[in-house]
């Protein structure tokens, strides 16, 4: 447990000191959403209709942008092999890295999402559900993304590759995240969708670190 906290604390302080990495994903998130009104036109009705999808797609893309840094610098400077040799289980350390990744990318995106919803004329009833889907969904992004980030260590063009690998896996998240918001807009209950996203989180929480740890071991050997 100490090792888990140590790694979360270290990654957070590194992210704070090298601030650009985390804020870059956030800025990307905002810019992508801003492009859509410019692309499809500023009619409030159109924007409102596509707002949930735009915010979620932009969140997926922004998360991809931040992923290749997740293990890369530790891999490059030899920290990763020392982590493999730490007495704590690697799966736990991976979970710590995913938590730190979520705190530095998922959480800021979650916090700024309502503002972007406002830009996109999203209805007021949709905001709580938007926040709920992002709160449950962005940790899944960090966990699934960890697998991709570990798999591409040492690969050529790792940044593009990780998006190619992870984006198809995030499709269920996109579908249920958007449909939960749309259900709320049309006055239906979005409980079912939220429960499914919650189930995804509960499933990826033990499984993804395990796959990530396997990928890290083969990357270092």
């Amino acid at each position: 447990m100490n090792a888990f906290l140590a790694i979360v604390r270290r990654d957070l302080s590194l992210a704070l000191r090298q601030g650009s990495d985390a804020t870059m994903a956030l800025m990307f998130f905002v810019i992508v959403v801003t492009l859509f009104p410019l692309g499809v036109g500023p009619e409030p009705g159109v924007l409102e209709r596509i707002s949930a999808g735009i915010v979620w797609v932009a969140a997926l893309l922004a998360a991809m942008l931040s992923l290749d840094r997740m293990f890369q610098s530790d891999y490059d400077d030899g920290t990763l092999e020392l982590m493999l040799l730490a007495p704590a289980p690697l799966e736990l350390l991976v979970l710590g890295k995913c938590l730190a990744h979520w705190l530095t990318t998922g959480l800021p995106m979650l916090l700024i999402a309502p503002l972007l919803g406002l830009f996109m004329n999203m209805q007021a009833d949709a905001f709580p559900v938007l926040l709920a889907t992002m709160a449950l969904g962005t940790p899944v992004l960090s966990l699934l993304g960890g697998i991709g980030a570990a798999l591409v260590l040492g690969a050529r063009r790792a940044g593009a590759l990780v998006a190619l690998l992870v984006l198809p896996l995030t499709i269920p998240l996109l579908i249920f995240g958007v449909s939960a918001i749309e259900a709320a807009v049309t006055g239906q209950s979005s409980k079912a969708q939220l429960l499914i996203i919650g189930a995804m989180l509960l499933a990826t929480l033990p499984l993804a670190p395990w796959a990530t740890a396997a990928a890290l071991r083969q990357a270092v050997s």
Partner: protein, 228 residues
């Protein structure tokens, strides 16, 4: 500081393949508490590979490694806990200070070793404790990597060219640390040109003796051979 007790670390008929190439085969080694094993051999003979195999970073293709007679692969976590590995990279995060780095590794490994300040002192970088690692010279980074050996207890030190980039003073610090470690019953495997005071506990292993011969290559190649 307490003693590590009496231990044995052995390898039996270890075979290692890297990138499809057989690096060494049927390699035996043994090491007892207080002992030193120096790896020799030309470039490409597999010194680094063997050290990584010993550290369980790389799985041997065949053969066994035993700690006190028990196979290492049965309990990889326990093996990781009893060894320190210093490889080619210093694992120095540019944005973290020397002190923070050591504190981090001390916490990761259970915090059993000597205090961070003392470890920095013993490797002569205490005056750089508050410097972010990006401002450290390569020799100072190496000292920092070596100071990691002291902040947590592990009987087995695996050192891959630990003196690269060190000045005479740094080598002296390392020699002192090694002597203290051995006095407590620690063991050391190293690929290095460092001089140890001679004694029966210092053994050398020449890896060129385990390089695969033509017959081995045929045997290994049979995997994809024939009938193709």
């Amino acid at each position: 500081m307490h003693d590590f007790g009496d231990h044995r670390f052995e390898g039996k008929a270890v075979r290692c393949r890297r990138g499809g190439r057989l690096v060494f085969d049927r390699l035996d080694f043994e090491l007892a508490s207080g002992g030193v094993l120096i790896l020799r051999g030309p470039n490409g003979s597999g010194k680094s590979s063997l050290l990584r195999v010993m550290a369980s970073l790389v799985r041997p293709e065949a053969g066994n490694m035993l700690w006190d007679g028990a196979p290492v692969r049965d309990d990889p976590a326990a093996h990781a806990a009893r060894l320190h590995y210093v490889g080619h990279s210093d694992a120095a995060k540019p944005a973290m200070t020397a002190e923070e780095l050591l504190t981090f590794w001390r916490g990761m490994r259970g915090g059993t070793g000597c205090p961070v300040g003392e470890a920095l002192e013993r490797f002569g970088i205490a005056h750089r404790a508050d410097f972010p690692a990006r401002y450290l010279s390569s020799g100072q980074k190496r000292r920092l990597a070596l100071a990691r050996l002291l902040v947590s207890e592990a009987p087995l030190w695996i050192l891959d060219e630990p003196t690269v980039g060190l000045d005479a003073d740094g080598v002296g610090s390392l020699e002192q640390a090694i002597a203290a470690h051995r006095a407590r019953g620690g063991m050391i495997v190293a690929a290095t040109h460092i001089r140890f005071e001679t004694g029966d506990a210092v053994a050398e292993l020449d890896l060129s003796a385990f390089a695969p011969g033509p017959a081995d290559l045929d045997a290994a190649g049979d995997l994809f051979a024939a009938a193709v």
